[in-house]
Each structure stands twice: as structure tokens, then as C-alpha cells.
């Protein structure tokens, strides 16, 4: 080990976004642990306040600051570190590191880059240099050439021949890449791409080739191993982040497996990577011909997956190698007896499936391809592909009970033509359509022809269809033991079987038990049982006859995780789960956690005493509960996924800890909750539950439009909408009732001129033990997950906060809350109304805990376990600093989506920053999510009359600050008539004059403010075109008037953005 390294700075990946998600919380946390073990002082820079890595118990110092060269230099000057880790914070950290090096900052401060060196990173990122370098050692890469402009692109494409693939240099998740079949498409794609990069790569397109990946580890002594290989179910043409992936590879022979392994090692040695890297291949399905597609010289989504799939702690090992250790000096931290220089043997298979949320966005193509659109992923472990596949499809939590027998005939197409289209031009639901193709009578060969999916995978799917047919024969009768067993072994769930047999889920469970059919617990030990190893990393399988471990031997507490990340439920709930587990351990219990998200810290081998990497579903949780016999289950940490199980678990006889499931139901059920509020005389927005269109129209008319329309049991605003007219209501209701046949629809008055206030608290036996009140910067109408949060509140009356506390206490008492809870309020003047109450941890728990410096989850877990609580409550008014949480939107990646805020949540991640005052905190947060400072050039298009008026003072202030302003016609005229002279630009559809589109293309604008006139994402309006143009051109965009005003005020105030660590803020 390099003993000169005493202090190291680690760069995080900032907000979660499409292509860069929770996996970097995992890798960064592991790196910090690895460094701390060596006595090295760790300095983390990451504004993502919801992560575990930014917790006080990990890094020695945490800077909640933007991961940009200017801020990092500030931290470097202050901390004077010896080394820096760039490869644990995704592309964000890597790009920042390369800039730091280019600007000479690292050299100036004598900082050593640990692990893979910058020239190597640059080589892997610069596509031409990469291709040339691999050519030197006779490794094949796709025929390609780099282009610097559109003209060059077309020339190269001509030379290679269509179809071609366009890739961007220095980008992640296939951003902006795509396949072009002709010159027209190439021109279009290239023009878009050059908005983000100065170089693109034009390469031969290997459609239908197998896509295979290897995760490679190399130390400074040239020891090199491949930890895991993975094969994509979807052949080349679909980004690996968008593909179903299986580990280990299934269709590769020994020769192919080791040919690619050898090339991987040769390549990694040649490049000189030290630490971890990922190599992606295309493999010809009818020969041994291969191409290296890319090498990522850093921890990646794939490495997180490989780490969880094998049990090999890649990030931890990579960090140690960065310090100069050799692989032979490191222990295998799973077995404790063998060394880290080995290649795990799996005796199971793993299936990863991406989770998309495309339905949340209007105008976004549901087709999947070479760019990433997915927002999360799940990983399932089984003994067979079929078992793992069906588990994984359920884990997606999109309403599927497995691959087949799904409600609404998921994946079924109206015609054979539509089915064929789905097969060869896939959407996110293709896998569900394959069984329908078999049912339609298509042969395996035919389906292969359309999908290019390897026949091996297709035959396994065909087998699932066969078993479905077999089971359905026993509908209404008695299913024989061997049939039921086979169905369970190929991954059928009890609900699926219940559907097929025409009985209740409980009946299937009883039948199973009578037959003695149950899943068994198996360990993941990296060595397939060759050496004795006691591990805590477990999964369930029906393809077994014995338990691998002793069950239920200690007093334990079972915590349910949060499952796949999706819009509305993300790393913040993992933070809650990890903290809950830590508290459970502290209180002397064995901690058991169930989770299936490979991008999380909670699924790390060293976080929990027993980790079940399995489904969070009634059937599975009960199976584990019955095996482990814990003191009880904590359901309130994993968001809505686990919370929804409270009542069913209780009904099936499991002990749910904390607030009673009956009370949870009283809060979740709109009727019960509303009548409780009425009886307590607590105000709420008027609402009505309606079952017919006529009633709905009448009620909406009486309320006056706009109205809010939503089904019950919602998280992240799925299927919520605002109707501004009767016509819109009718349209919306068709959609909502389609979505929820069992649930009637709820309509309420949509209030826009109110403030929205977030209340997060912990109670024990109905008494609030700690609470935090944050205000939304935006007025009501913006989903709370998208809103900018301010703590302590800056513009809320003391009287209002006092009332909120009182109301919350009353509700806590009435619902006998023990544990975490969250409420949302509307406030106008000093009047408050309760919008909703969730008897679980909320998205804002990490934010309030870290700003407030009181761990709400620890407290909540202690309450749940019946421990004495430390209830000393500091008033949040005493905080001498301000925290601001801002949202990150991934609209850049969602081609065509209308980037506007509404009642449906759209953000993929968040940051939280601290400042001595509100302006400082806001600016740090906005910088962290990609906004530019200083603001010198702005386009204003301020929408409705009222907003125009509201914005007038801001516009004047901007003028005084010397900001150059352009405005669209109406806004310009309005401002001119009030004495503010700005330059006019015409709307996109105008025939003459300089249009907004030209302006965005020509000027390097710092900000576009476009306030839409409607509350709904709209069709191809002028406003939409402006917003989309800004996003596609990489210009920061604000569509909310309050946020725009506050941001611009702060920018003009121009406070110093201080380099202060989290622990330097104290009250």
C-alpha cells in the first residue's frame, strides 16, 4: 500500500438520473469503507443528500456541494488531500476529474489520482484513440471513425455503409446515440448529438449480435481476473442498461467464454487500468467473431450488478487496489478464508430487468433502443432462468404476477401485425409479448427471426407457456403435486396459480403446504459451496430440497426494503432502510432485510446480518417470516411497496411492528381518513369519490375547474391529473377508470395559489417525538417529489407552523402512530388544509434528518422497537443555516417528453445543499442539478397575465443586474409597457423575425424561463417546442414561476457560495 496517502477526496455522482442512479451510492460507500479501514481520512463531495454515503457515519467529512471543477478545487484548497478517487461517482465524477486534470488543478495541488490514471480514462473515452489502441494488440473493435461535425459524419457513414451506429464521446448511458438506416436519419441524429459533444463515433452496426459483458479487476502488479460475465437477453441494438441481462452467460461455450475472457484481460492490461473496469462485446451468433464495443474504466451500473450477482465486493476491492494493494493481499470478504484474487463460481443464475416509467411522460416513445430511458432495475436470483425471470418480472412492481397469466393480458396485441412489430421494434413490454407469440402459434424460429433473441431464452419462455397450459387444465379441480411443484420450479407465483386455478391466493398457499412444497434458503458464497463459508447473502428457490443455513436461531427483526428505484421511490428509501437496519442491530437484534434492487447499499453484504435478495411480496415475505420467525416486521421504511403489505401481512398472521396496519389503512383509505379529519374538525380540500361520468361532471362543475382527478392508493402521482374543462375531465376519466376498475375516482378542487408544506415526523404511541416542517418553494400544484424544499421554512408564518404541529399531533394521537410519518398541508394566509398523511417514512426523511442533524429513522426505529426515545427537540427556527432540496429531471434522455412540472412526478433524483442563508443554499442546489451561474443571458416567456405581472419585479431586477434578456412577443410587450426594455424573439411557428429556436441555437443562454399556460403537458404547442428545444440543447429550463423568481433573485444577490462541510454548519 502507498503510505504517502493519508487523506483522500472522493467524488460522488450527484443527483440520481437516468443512466446514473443508486449504483454509485453503493460504490462510493464501499470505497469510503475500504479507505477508512486503512486509517485514511475520507472527504466526500456529493450533493445527493438522500444517499447513504453522505451520512455522518461514513466519510470523515461530507461536502454537499456540486461535483464541478470550481467547487472541487475549493474543497481541495481547503482540505489539501493527497489523493483523489474519480471512478466511484459515475460519469459525473469521471468528467469532473478529467476537467480538473485539464485545468492543471490536480497537478497544482500535488494530488495523486488513485487507481486508473487519467490518460487511460481519456483513452477509453476517446473513441478513436480507443479503437487505435486496441488495434495495436490485435483486438477487434467495430469498424468506425470519429466525426467532429455533421458533414464528416455523413462522409464516414457513406464509407462504412448503412446502417450505422452513432455514439457520443464522454457520455453515459448511450446518451444521444442511435442507429441510422439512411442519410436523413444520420443527419438528424448527428445534429442533436453535437449539441452535447464535440466528437461522435460513427460505427458499423452489428444488429442481432449477442451482447456480452465482463467485469474485470486488475492490480498494479498486473494480476487480472474477470469477476463476472453477463449476457444480454436482448441482442445488440438495445443498450445494455435497457436490456434484460443474465449472469453468468448461458449460450456461450467454453471456447467463447474464455476467448472473450482472454481478450478482456489482454485489453485491460494493455490499457493499464488499475481497479475495476467493464468491457462490452458484440459476439456473432453464428461464429466466434467478436468486437469490443466499449470499456468503462470505472465502477458502473454493470459492476454494481456483477457485485450483487456474484457476492464479490467489486467497489471495495477496486478502492483497495487504488491504494496500491495487490489482489493477492486482499481477502475475499464473503468467505473470509479465501483471497480476492479469484473468479466467483455461481451455482444459480441471475436476471436483471430494467424498470421504466415511460407512461408518466406524454409524447415519449415507448420503444427501447440504444439510449437509456429506464429509471431503475431489479435483480432476481434463481436456480433456473425461468425461476429468476418470473421473479424479476414481478419485482418490477408494474402489476405483473409473472411472465404469463397477467391481469389485462399484459403484452397481448390486438393483431398479429402489432405483435410482430412489438417483437422486432420492442417497447418496454416486449418480454410479455413473447408468450403471446407462442400462443398465437408462431414457431420459435419465427420469433427468433423477429426478435433475434437467442433460441435458448425463447425455449425457456416456451416452457413457461407449456406449464401455464398444463396448470390451467386443473382449473376448478385438484392440481396434482408434481404439476404444482413444476410450476413453482419454473417461477410461477401463488397469485398466478390462483388466477389459473380459479381460487384465492391463500388457497394455493394451503395446497402447497399440504403437499410440502416450499422454497428453500440458499447462500451466495462466491464459490458454489466448494469451500465452507457462512454467508449472510441469501435467496429462495424451489429447485432445492434442503435449507443451506440454520433458520430462526436468534431474536430478529425483519425490515422490508424499497425494491426497484422508480420515479417517486428511490435512494431516499434505501437510506431509510439502511438506517433502520443499523438501529435494529444496535438494539441487539439480528437484522434481516429483504430487497432486490442491485443499485442499493442496503443489499451490501456488510450492512445487514441476513440479506434476503428476493421479492417483497406477500407470498415471499410470509415464506421468510415463517422460516425466520422474527419478533416482527418493519414495513414503514421501504416506501409504498412495503407499506402496502402492512394490512395483508397482518391478516395472514404476521406481526407488523410500529403503527398498526389497521391505522395505516385508516390513513390510506380516503374515506376513512376524511371522516376522521371531519370528526377532528380538521380542514381538508373538498373532494368526492365518484363512480360515474355524470356524477363526476356535475361535481366538477360545482367545484369550478380546474379540478384534480386521482385514484386512491397512489404514490408519485401515477394516474393523477388536472382537468381544466369538462372535455378534459371526460378524457382523463376514461384513462383513470381504465387504470383502476376496482377503485372509484376521486375529484377535488385544484388549488394553485396556496403554499404547500411538508411535515415529517416520528411518533411513539401517538405522541410526536420529533418533527420537521419544510416548505415548498413552488406553489401547490407541483408534485411534492418535484418541488424544491426549504428547511427551515422562509416564507411561512409562525402561526401556520404552529397550527400544523397541532393538527399533526392530533392526527398522530388519533392514528396511534408509532414510527415515521409524513403529512402534506396546503396553507393560504394562516388557514391550513390536510392533503394527505402517510404512516411511513417519506422521500424527505434523509433531507430533514441531515439538515436538522437528527436521525429521524433511528428515532423511528427505536420507537417501533419500543425503546426509550431521546425527545429533546430543538426548534427548527434555531437553525442558523438553511437547507434546500432541489429536483433533477432527466428530460434530456426522454426524447419528446414535455419538460413541465405538474401533479405527476417527473424528477428522477434530488440534491440537498446547505447555505448560511436561503440564497446560498438555493444556488448551490441549483448548480448541483445543472444550472449555470452567473446568469448573463436569459429568455423569458412568462405565460399567463398573472404570472407576467408577478414576474415584473424580477425582470426589472435582472435589468439592473445587467442580465441580457430576450422575451417572446407577449412577454416582451408586457414588459415594454411597464418600462422594461428587452429584445423580442418570435414564437417557433411565426413566419418572420428571429425565433426562439434560432435564439437557443445561436446564443449560449444561461436560462430559459417558460411558464406554461396549462397545468397539463400539452401537445405540440409553441411553448412545448421552446421547452423541448432548451432541453435538447442543454440549456437550463425553469417552468415554474416561483422557482424562476427565487432562483433569479438569488442569482442577482450573488452571495458567496462557501466551501463548508456538513459538520461545519451548526446552530
Amino acid at each position: 500500500m502507498d503510505s504517502s496517502i493519508k487523506k483522500v477526496i472522493i467524488l460522488g455522482s450527484a443527483a440520481l438520473k437516468i443512466g446514473e442512479a443508486g449504483e454509485f451510492d453503493y460504490s462510493g460507500s464501499q470505497a469510503i469503507k475500504a479507505l477508512k479501514q486503512e486509517g485514511i481520512t475520507t472527504i466526500l463531495v456529493n450533493p445527493n443528500i438522500a444517499t447513504i454515503q453522505t451520512s455522518d457515519h461514513l466519510a470523515d467529512k461530507v461536502y454537499l456541494l456540486p461535483v464541478t471543477p470550481d467547487f472541487i478545487e475549493g474543497v481541495i484548497e481547503k482540505e489539501k488531500p493527497d489523493g483523489i478517487l474519480l471512478s466511484f461517482g459515475g460519469q459525473t465524477a469521471l468528467n469532473c476529474g478529467m476537467e480538473l486534470e485539464e485545468q492543471g488543478i490536480l497537478k497544482k495541488h500535488g494530488i495523486k489520482v488513485l487507481g486508473t490514471q487519467i490518460p487511460v480514462i481519456r483513452m477509453t473515452e476517446d473513441r478513436q484513440a480507443f479503437a487505435d489502441s486496441l488495434g495495436e494488440i490485435g483486438v477487434f473493435v467495430p469498424r468506425s471513425k470519429a466525426a467532429r461535425n455533421v458533414k464528416e459524419t455523413l462522409e464516414i457513414a457513406q464509407e462504412i455503409g448503412y446502417p450505422i451506429m452513432i455514439r457520443l464521446a464522454f457520455a453515459l448511458g448511450g446518451l444521444g446515440s442511435g442507429v441510422c438506416w439512411n442519410e436523413k436519419e444520420a443527419k438528424k441524429l448527428a445534429s442533436g448529438a453535437f449539441a452535447h459533444t464535440s466528437q461522435i463515433l460513427v460505427e458499423e452496426y452489428l444488429k442481432g449480435w449477442k451482447e456480452v459483458e465482463y467485469e474485470v479487476v486488475r492490480d498494479g502488479l498486473d494480476n487480472c481476473v474477470t469477476v463476472c460475465n453477463m449476457e444480454n437477453f436482448d441482442p445488440l441494438g438495445i443498450h445494455t442498461g435497457e436490456s434484460i441481462v443474465i449472469a453468468p452467460s448461458q449460450t456461450l461455450s467454453n471456447r467463447e467464454y474464455h476467448m472473450l475472457r482472454e481478450v478482456a484481460i489482454k485489453t485491460v492490461r494493455h490499457l493499464g487500468v488499475v481497479g475495476e473496469c467493464n468491457i462490452q462485446y458484440a459476439l456473432n451468433p453464428i461464429s466466434e467473431e467478436y468486437r469490443v464495443i466499449e470499456v468503462n474504466a470505472r465502477l458502473s451500473r454493470s459492476s454494481a450488478l456483477a457485485s450483487k450477482a456474484t457476492g464479490y465486493p467489486l467497489a471495495f476491492v477496486a478502492a483497495k487496489l487504488g491504494l496500491g494493494y495487490s489482489l493477492t493481499e486482499l481477502k475475499n470478504s464473503i468467505t473470509h478464508s479465501t483471497i480476492a484474487c479469484f473468479e466467483p463460481a455461481l451455482d444459480y443464475c441471475v436476471v436483471k430487468i430494467p424498470r421504466w416509467d415511460l407512461k408518466k411522460f406524454k409524447r415519449v416513445s415507448k420503444q427501447i433502443g440504444t439510449s437509456m430511458k429506464s429509471v431503475g432495475e431489479v435483480m432476481a436470483i434463481g436456480k433456473t432462468f425461468q425461476e429468476a425471470l418470473q421473479k424479476a418480472l414481478r419485482m418490477l412492481d408494474i402489476g405483473a404476477d409473472g411472465l404469463v397469466t397477467n391481469h389485462g393480458d399484459l403484452g397481448k396485441k390486438a393483431s398479429r401485425e402489432e405483435l410482430i412489430t412489438e417483437l422486432h421494434s420492442p417497447t418496454d413490454e416486449r418480454v410479455f409479448s413473447i408468450p403471446w407469440a407462442f400462443k398465437e402459434g408462431m414457431s420459435l424460429a419465427e420469433i427468433h427471426e423477429h426478435t433475434r433473441i437467442d433460441p435458448w431464452f425463447l425455449s425457456k419462455i416456451q416452457n413457461i407457456v407449456r406449464v401455464e397450459d398444463l396448470v390451467i387444465q386443473y382449473q376448478g379441480g385438484i392440481i396434482p403435486r408434481h404439476v404444482l411443484k413444476e410450476a413453482k420450479q419454473v417461477g410461477f407465483s401463488d397469485p398466478q396459480l390462483a388466477q389459473l386455478l380459479g381460487c384465492a391466493e391463500k388457497a394455493v398457499r394451503l395446497m402447497r403446504k399440504n403437499y410440502g412444497i416450499q422454497p428453500f434458503v440458499k447462500q451466495i458464497d462466491t464459490l458454489a459451496g466448494e469451500y465452507p463459508a457462512q454467508t449472510n447473502y441469501l435467496y429462495l428457490t424451489y429447485n432445492a430440497t434442503e435449507e443451506d443455513i440454520t433458520l430462526g436461531s436468534a431474536e430478529s427483526v425483519l425490515v422490508l426494503g424499497s425494491g426497484t428505484y422508480r420515479i417517486g421511490s428511490s435512494v431516499e428509501f434505501d437510506w431509510c432502510c439502511v438506517n433502520a437496519v443499523q438501529t435494529v442491530k444496535e438494539q441487539g437484534y439480528r437484522s434481516i432485510l429483504i430487497n432486490y434492487n442491485p443499485e442499493t447499499v442496503s443489499t451490501d453484504y456488510d450492512e445487514v446480518d441476513r440479506l434476503y435478495f428476493d421479492e417483497i411480496r406477500l407470498e415471499t415475505v410470509m415464506d421468510i417470516y415463517e422460516k425466520e420467525n422474527p419478533k416482527g416486521i418493519i414495513v414503514s421504511m421501504g416506501g409504498q411497496v412495503s407499506n402496502n403489505l402492512a394490512l395483508p401481512l397482518m391478516r395472514w398472521g404476521a406481526k407488523v411492528l410500529g403503527t398498526s396496519p389497521t391505522q395505516i389503512d385508516r390513513a390510506e383509505d380516503r374515506h376513512k381518513f376524511s371522516s376522521m379529519l371531519d370528526s377532528l374538525k380538521i380542514d381538508q380540500p373538498i373532494w368526492k369519490e365518484l363512480t360515474t361520468m355524470t356524477e363526476a361532471k356535475a361535481f366538477a362543475k360545482a367545484m369550478e375547474y380546474p379540478v384534480l382527478v386521482r385514484p386512491s392508493y397512489v404514490l408519485s402521482g401515477a394516474a393523477m391529473g388536472v382537468a381544466t374543462s369538462e372535455k378534459a375531465l371526460e378524457q382523463y376519466l376514461t384513462k383513470a377508470t381504465d387504470l383502476n376498475q376496482d377503485h372509484p375516482v376521486v375529484i377535488s378542487k385544484f388549488l394553485t395559489n396556496s403554499k404547500e408544506i411538508e411535515f415529517d415526523a416520528v411518533a411513539k404511541n401517538g405522541e410526536i417525538a420529533a418533527f420537521a416542517i419544510s416548505e415548498h418553494l413552488e406553489n401547490a400544484g407541483v408534485h411534492s417529489g418535484d418541488a424544491t424544499l426549504v428547511l427551515p421554512p422562509q416564507r411561512t408564518y409562525i402561526e401556520t407552523t404552529r397550527k400544523i404541529k397541532a393538527v399533526a399531533q392530533e392526527i398522530a394521537k388519533n392514528l396511534e402512530i408509532t414510527g415515521p410519518f409524513n403529512m402534506q398541508f396546503l396553507a393560504k394566509g394562516n388557514e391550513i388544509k390536510v392533503i394527505e398523511c402517510n404512516l411511513r417514512a417519506s422521500r424527505s426523511f434523509p433531507f430533514v434528518s441531515k439538515v436538522y442533524k437528527k436521525n429521524f429513522i433511528r428515532l423511528a426505529t427505536q420507537a417501533i422497537l419500543g425503546e426509550e426515545l431521546d425527545v429533546t427537540q430543538r426548534s427548527f427556527m434555531e437553525l442558523s443555516y438553511v437547507g434546500v432540496k432541489a429536483s433533477h429531471f432527466s428530460f434530456t434522455r426522454l426524447l419528446g417528453a414535455d419538460p413541465i412540472l405538474g401533479v405527476e412526478m417527473a424528477s428522477t433524483g434530488e440534491v440537498g445543499c446547505l447555505g448560511d442563508d436561503f440564497h446560498e443554499a438555493l444556488l448551490k442546489a441549483m448548480r448541483s442539478v445543472g444550472f449555470h451561474l452567473p446568469v448573463k443571458k436569459v429568455l423569458l416567456s412568462t405565460g399567463p397575465e398573472k404570472e407576467k405581472l408577478d414576474f415584473l419585479e424580477t425582470a426589472k431586477m435582472l435589468k439592473n443586474c445587467g442580465v441580457k434578456i430576450w422575451a417572446t412577443n407577449g412577454t416582451q410587450q408586457f414588459l415594454a409597457s411597464h418600462g422594461v426594455k428587452v429584445e423580442q424573439v418570435s414564437w417557433p411557428n411565426a413566419k418572420d423575425g428571429k425565433s426562439v429556436i434560432d435564439l437557443i441555437e445561436e446564443e449560449n443562454l444561461d436560462l430559459v424561463v417558460n411558464i406554461p399556460k396549462n397545468f397539463q403537458p400539452n401537445e405540440l404547442t409553441n411553448g412545448y417546442k421552446v421547452r423541448r428545444k432548451a432541453v435538447d440543447h442543454g440549456v437550463p429550463l425553469i417552468t415554474n414561476p416561483q422557482l424562476a423568481m427565487r432562483f433569479l433573485e438569488a442569482a442577482c444577490a450573488n452571495p458567496e457560495l462557501k466551501i463548508k462541510a456538513w459538520n461545519e454548519y451548526s446552530s
Partner: protein, 349 residues
């Protein structure tokens, strides 16, 4: 079908392959690829193999075409295993160079298989209690246990007649103890010709530049005849290289002793460190016996050791070009990290 172990354990499974009962020694391997190579590896003579990887047969069985008189896709001409035990068999295989399914191939070769078995539980039993005798019983047709280690298995798998390969000017005498084809290929691809001779062949009259001792099945002490033929050559200066069984015989010839390992090594992911360096190689292994380092004669020194359990993985003569390794540098199946050992040996010829 039923698998019965000598300790009385009985395990139920579904039969596939050839309908027959067999008896042998039950062992396991944790490799994830390479079942065609494994099944034809002569080192498995007389054994019943448990695959810990649950999905077997995925890519079918390739054709039996020959190159240099060796089956291109296999490690010998026959399946040497008595039977295999797995979790799940793939019948609908998929691979561009496959011509039949694993099951059809096993039927042709009269090898039974058993699927639907909790191979992890079985592996743990074998690991904890050590290798056991066992029998796979087809439809109640019982048969006695059979202990292959009591026999000279090498004699059963070695070539009956000398065979010459290649036309390279350098010539290696290959003592066939149950040689895998890829050892031969490894020489041919380096331009070296070979004379492959039976395990007990008197090669004193042959002309060659070096001796290669192949891998092979069973207990090395059953093959003392080869050891005796070898001994005089240790005093000469001809290069000698041994692999696996060849390694153990070389050690015995030099006066060292072998012992039976508690767990054995049965995988494709064994880390081996070269003595005196920090270089570690991932190797393919399949053996129950090892050399006792402590018994090495003064002229000999350890060359590699196993990074997991410290057991010996290679020895070399201090002054002469005589060396051997316990692992399989020829790979197939498994990683090819140590193929450079062939380069070194060929260079020494």
C-alpha cells in the same frame, strides 16, 4: 432415478440420458462452462460428476470433426464419466456449432444422467464428508458400489499404442496417463511434434527433446511403474514438464510424498501464486491428491502454491529444466492464464 451414497444418503432425481444404473466415485465441479470438455476428460474415469452450475446442456454438443487426428471439440474420444448429476437439463439447446443435445450424446455413449437434484446440498455433503462412493440406480436396478481408486485407472485410459503427432523439428515424448487433447494441441500449435506413448511404455530407445507427463485419473500411487521409468530421467538434463497426475508422479519419482486433500480442488477458479512473486493466476483444477511440500528432496523447490489453502501447486528442480504443475495450463475447460508455461517448456527444449 436414485443416487445412493456409501453413507446411506439417498437422493431422488429425474433420469435422463441412457437408461442404466452405474456405480463410481461421486465428485463435484463448480465450473460454469465446458461440459463437453469435462465429460471427455480422462481424469474423470470411473467417477460420477455433480455439476454445481444448475443449467447444463445449454449449448448442445458440437460435431466430432477431427484436426490432427484429435476431436476438435472434445478432450478425448469418449465420455469417461460414469454418470452426471445436475439441477436442470436443457434439451432445446442453442448454438451455431452444436449438432445434438447433451442427452442424445449421452444416450449414444451409454451414460445416464439425473436432474432435479439439489446439487448444492449434495456438494456440501461431499465437501464435508469427503469424496464418497455412490451409485445411480435406474428403475430399481441395483448394483454394488465400485471404488475406482483401488484400480490403476491410468492403465484404462492411456493410449494402447504409441501415436505420433505433427512434424515439428522439436519432438516431445508425451507419456499418456489419461491425456487431454488440449495438451497435444498446445504443443502442435507451438510447432512441436509429439510421440504419445502408453503409461508403461519403455521409451528408453526413443528420440525426443523433452518429456511431457500428462494429467490422468485416480491415485498416483497406483501408477508406480511410470514413476520407476521416470526416475532415471531426473538425473539427466532433458526438459520435463508435468501436469496434474504427471506432476504427482514427478514428485513421487523425485522422492516426495503425496497426500489426499480434505476437500480437493474441483473448479475453474483456483488462484495460484508463483512462489517468490505476487503474481497470481486463475487456474482450472480437478484433483484430490496433492504433493507434500515438506517432503521435497533438497534439489527441488516449490514453484506455485494455492492462494486459498496454501497447498502445493507446482514444483521445479533447482538446476535442471524439470518442472510440473498441479493445475491445468492447457485449460479447456477453464481459464487460459497459464498457457505461457507451454511457451516456457517449448523454449527449454
Amino acid at each position: 432415478m436414485e443416487l445412493i451414497l456409501e453413507d446411506g444418503t439417498a437422493i431422488e432425481g429425474r433420469h435422463f440420458g441412457y437408461p442404466t444404473s452405474v456405480a463410481g466415485e461421486v465428485i463435484f465441479n463448480t465450473g460454469m462452462v465446458g461440459y463437453p470438455e469435462t465429460l471427455t476428460d480422462p481424469s474423470y474415469k470411473g467417477q460420477i460428476l455433480v455439476f454445481t452450475y444448475p443449467l447444463i446442456g445449454n449449448y448442445g454438443i458440437p460435431d466430432e470433426s477431427r484436426l490432427n487426428n484429435l476431436k476438435q471439440h472434445f478432450e478425448s474420444d469418449h465420455i469417461h464419466l460414469k454418470g452426471i448429476v445436475i439441477t436442470s437439463l436443457t434439451r432445446e439447446y442453442s448454438h451455431w456449432n452444436a449438432i445434438k443435445s447433451l442427452e442424445d450424446w449421452m444416450i449414444e455413449n451409454q451414460i445416464p444422467g439425473m436432474e432435479g437434484v439439489d446439487t448444492r446440498a449434495l456438494t456440501q455433503k461431499l465437501r464435508n464428508k469427503g469424496t464418497q462412493l455412490g451409485k445411480m440406480i435406474y428403475e430399481g436396478h441395483d448394483l454394488p458400489f465400485y471404488d475406482p481408486s483401488k484400480e490403476n485407472l491410468v492403465a484404462q485410459v492411456s493410449t494402447p499404442e504409441p501415436i505420433a503427432y505433427g512434424s515439428g523439428s522439436k519432438r516431445v515424448l508425451l507419456i499418456d496417463l489419461g491425456c487431454k487433447n488440449n495438451i497435444i494441441r498446445s504443443f502442435l500449435s507451438r510447432g512441436v511434434s509429439l510421440l504419445r506413448v502408453p503409461w508403461n511404455y519403455d521409451f528408453s530407445q526413443e528420440k525426443f527433446d523433452g518429456i511431457m507427463l500428462s494429467n490422468g485419473p485416480g491415485d498416483p500411487t497406483q501408477v508406480m511403474e511410470t514413476v520407476r521409468r521416470l526416475q532415471p530421467w531426473l538425473k539427466k538434463d532433458k526438459p520435463i514438464f508435468g501436469i496434474c497426475m504427471g506432476h504427482q508422479l514427478l514428485a513421487l519419482a523425485s522422492g516426495a510424498q503425496t497426500y489426499k486433500l480434505k476437500f480437493g480442488h474441483h473448479s475453474q477458479n483456483q488462484p495460484c501464486i508463483q512462489v517468490g512473486t505476487k503474481r497470481c493466476y486463475i487456474t482450472s483444477q480437478n484433483h484430490n491428491y496433492a504433493i507434500d511440500d515438506q517432503t521435497l528432496a533438497p534439489d527441488w523447490t516449490p514453484w506455485f502454491f494455492n492462494a486459498n489453502d496454501g497447498s502445493n501447486e507446482g514444483i521445479r528442480h533447482k538446476t535442471k529444466p524439470i518442472r510440473s504443475v498441479q493445475f491445468h495450463p492447457e485449460a479447456w475447460p477453464g481459464p487460459v492464464d497459464t498457457a505461457f508455461l507451454f511457451d516456457e517448456f517449448v523454449k527449454s527444449l
